[in-house]
């Protein structure tokens, strides 16, 4: 009950300000631009949405922190956190309600990319199962980005700082599987560490799902990332609420 009420308020609040509309328009415009111009959607001559999905981590990298930066930083800044946390709900309700609202909002933005799916179906005969998997993977990855941002937000009252730190942490998680990060470890760290770091990457798991391979391990990975960061979120809110 508590979660649902918080969820409802939060989700409604996105649409009270221009934030929601700007976010959705930018997300759709960028997703389209990347797909058609950078991803060479037409030139590839293949009826799938790979060029569309492959840019999602990069879009999320700067768009998701814009959603999560305000989640707790704003509550701390305006003092409404004191009101929220003295209402008869648990801290977990508050954290989950906010997170789920943000996730649902991102889901709405993602769902609005449906013209892509229509386009590819008009042009050819794509594997719609793989596309669905791609959407599921993208949604899960968005949830992970959101959980990271949501956990970082209570650490500061300053939304810009929350934005920047979230972007950096998400960047590390995103590129964890690529040379940028792995080269830093290879050579001196044991293989186990290098493998672990590679496995921690959003990209590794997202690419697997978006190719249409829904593996339980990838699901468990994203679920654990979300769970871990939301747990951290509860702790951080508790630690920082008074300041």
């Amino acid at each position: 009950m508590g979660i649902y009420t918080i969820f409802r308020r939060e989700l409604t609040s996105y649409f009270l300000t221009p934030l929601a509309y700007i976010f959705i328009v930018i997300f759709l415009a960028m997703a389209g631009t990347f797909t058609f111009f950078v991803g060479n959607f037409f030139g590839r001559g293949q009826a799938d949405l790979q060029p569309f999905f492959q840019f999602h981590p990069w879009l999320y990298l700067f768009l998701i922190p814009a959603i999560t930066m305000r989640l707790w930083a704003e509550e701390r800044k305006t003092g409404s956190i004191e009101l929220l946390l003295t209402l008869p709900i648990s801290m977990t309700d508050a954290v989950l309600g906010k997170f789920l609202a943000a996730w649902c909002f991102t889901g709405i933005a993602l769902a609005l990319t449906f013209p892509m799916w229509i386009t590819v179906n008009v042009l050819g005969y794509p594997d719609n199962g793989a596309i669905l998997a791609g959407y599921a993977g993208s949604f899960l990855m968005a949830g992970s980005f959101l959980a990271v941002g949501s956990a970082i937000s209570p650490l500061t009252k300053n939304q810009v700082i929350a934005f920047v730190i979230t972007s950096v942490v998400c960047f590390v998680f995103t590129v964890g599987g690529t040379g940028v990060v792995l080269n830093f470890f290879t050579g001196w760290a044991p293989t186990l560490v290098v493998d672990t770091v590679a496995q921690m990457s959003f990209m590794t798991h997202f690419n697997a799902i978006s190719r249409g391979v829904i593996d339980a391990r990838d699901m468990v990975y994203f679920a654990s990332v979300i769970g871990f960061f939301l747990f951290a979120n509860v702790i951080f809110v508790d630690l920082k609420k008074a300041g």
Binding site: G2, R9, S13, G79, E82, L83, T86, L87, P88, A242
Partner: protein, 311 residues
């Protein structure tokens, strides 16, 4: 249950700073307790611990029998809280905000509308109900915070500076509102305004440096003032001032006498707050001085406040 709020040994430390130092008290149904104290005395911190926002370093706070740390949800249900500065969600309208609070507080959908309408009427928010909160004046914002605290008709009200930012008419109305509700609730308010304590509190507590330095009814606190039971005499003829001063200084029980030659005012301060009006009257009749005005002063709460908190 008589004791609606029971605070025992409440202490809060922030690092090396002790904000609240071993405070104990209880508030019964029908009592309005006023927290007085300089800024940074620990009033708000105490309120934050009672309402479960901050966890105490030591001690317990019980609301209607529920420990705020062990059974936070049950305790929070009993409390209506106006935090310092009356925070709300600025993007929402008061109507949407109050609806949200009513839902979180599990106010039955059947009576939700009525409860919201009641709170709106009590706090006179009708005209701004559909305007976003960040466009409201300070007074309206404060009243939105009050409406939110009253909405579920709580047994315990904790109001941190409920009249701050209101104009004198609004202050008067809010005080009337608090007074009207007080008979079946336990209320704690904090304030800087000493007259407010006189106007609505059945009991006042002065907090300084995180400790309770005075606790009593407003009248009891006023008795701590050197002005309490002082007798002020205004003479028809200021020329008599010196003679009157000398006469009044001889009264048994007079501690000191202040005189103002130009205004013809003579004030006698008593020892141990005893009543001197009869003796002063007698002395004046005896000297056959013409008296324009004579009055017994009440204590000055602000003087008590300054003396206690600066000691």
């Amino acid at each position: 249950m008589a004791e609606m709020i029971a605070i025992d040994g409440l202490t809060k430390r922030f690092g090396a700073i002790t904000a609240v130092d071993d405070i104990s008290f209880s508030v019964k149904r029908g009592e309005v307790l006023g927290f007085l104290g300089p800024n940074g005395a620990g009033k708000s911190t105490t309120m934050k611990m009672i309402t479960g926002f901050l966890a105490p370093t030591a001690g317990t706070a019980r609301v209607c029998g529920f420990d705020i740390q062990d059974q936070p949800i049950a305790a929070k249900k009993k409390i209506g809280y106006l935090p310092e500065g009356a925070p709300a969600y600025p993007d929402m309208t008061p109507a949407a905000f109050l609806d949200f609070i009513a839902r979180v507080r599990n106010v039955d959908s059947g009576i939700r509308k009525k409860r919201i309408a009641d709170a709106v009427e009590k706090t006179q928010l009708g005209e701004v109900l559909y305007q976003s909160i960040d466009t409201l004046s300070k007074g309206f914002k404060r009243r939105v915070g009050l409406a939110q605290a009253l909405l579920h008709d709580p047994e315990v009200l904790v109001l941190d500076e409920p009249t701050d930012g209101l104009d004198p008419n609004q202050k008067h109305e809010v005080r009337g509102l608090i007074k009207a509700m007080s008979y079946d609730k336990a209320i704690i308010i904090s304030t800087h305004i000493l007259e407010e304590v006189d106007a609505i509190c059945t009991r006042a507590m002065i907090i300084s440096g995180g400790r309770v330095v005075a606790d009593g009814t407003p009248v009891e606190l006023e008795q701590l003032s050197r002005h309490y039971n002082a007798v002020a005499v205004r003479l028809e003829d200021p020329a008599d001032t010196d003679a009157v001063k000398a006469a009044l200084e001889r009264i048994d029980g007079a501690l000191s006498v202040d005189a103002n030659k130009y205004a013809g005012m003579v004030t006698v301060y008593p020892q141990d707050a005893r009543s001197l009006i009869a003796e002063v009257g007698q002395a004046m009749r005896h000297g056959r001085w013409k008296v324009a005005e004579i009055r017994v002063e009440r204590g000055h709460l602000d003087e008590v406040f300054r003396r206690i908190t600066q000691a």
